[in-house]
Symmetry: C2
DNA sequence: AAAATACTTAAGTTTTTACTTGACTATCCG
DNA sequence: CGGATAGTCAAGTAAAAACTTAAGTATTTT
């Protein structure tokens, strides 16, 4: 918990909220505007904008405003960051199990 | 945001906290007891136990008590759940981009 | 130019989280 | 047995998060 990874913190915090994950699910189908995004969600537009800000700051979502409409899209590198963290944990865990297996398979070598 | 996935919610909520992720990082190195886990963290043992409860309820961690010591270990299926969700989003996103690419490559077929 | 649309921003409220303290139980060790 | 160790539980507090309302700005549309 030292001052290491500043990004992974934001990404996982962002993904920790179910509404924000719903937004990500919607965005994975393709880019849409803020109000289209708000449509199916039963919260105010202002709340959606706030979630969007968090998603953008974490690098999970990118937005661009043209005229009066802001279009939002997934930023795949943000997701990769989270995916990588998870994979790392699993890899370390599994490698450890492998070594344990080796030890059990050839107990005379120790 | 209907009553669909009950597990993914817990898993991502659990991973949303940096202390809990630190616990996961520690556990990926191998199973350890609650107080060993608490050692490097600058919070009380009681707080660690609470985090552990959340991790256990989400299926990310499994524990077993022998005598007076509870040993905690990673439950890889919990991590897979989160990994899968992320991969799904990326896959949908990338498949969409592929289709777009096809459209641009062969515009006369439409 | 007026009305409507699509956000944006700030401030305040409510709910949820993380954490602590303190008391308690169970197990192990000398 | 008595004390130390390992964890549990309940209650309370404080800070963070999610959400709302209300007022404002910039862009279309009519």
């Amino acid at each position: 918990m030292s001052g290491r990874k500043p990004d992974i913190d934001r990404v996982f915090h962002a993904l920790g909220d179910p509404t924000r994950r719903a937004i990500m699910e919607r965005l994975s189908q393709g880019p849409i505007s803020v109000s289209q995004l708000a449509g199916p969600l039963e919260i105010t537009l202002a709340a959606v904008v706030q979630h969007l800000q968090i998603l953008e700051e974490s690098g999970l979502v990118g937005t661009e405003k043209v005229g009066r409409v802001r279009t939002c899209r997934i930023e795949p590198t943000g997701l990769s960051l989270a995916e990588q963290w998870i994979r790392d944990r699993r890899t370390i865990w599994e490698r450890r199990l492998d070594k344990l297996g080796d030890l059990l398979a050839e107990p005379d070598e120790n």
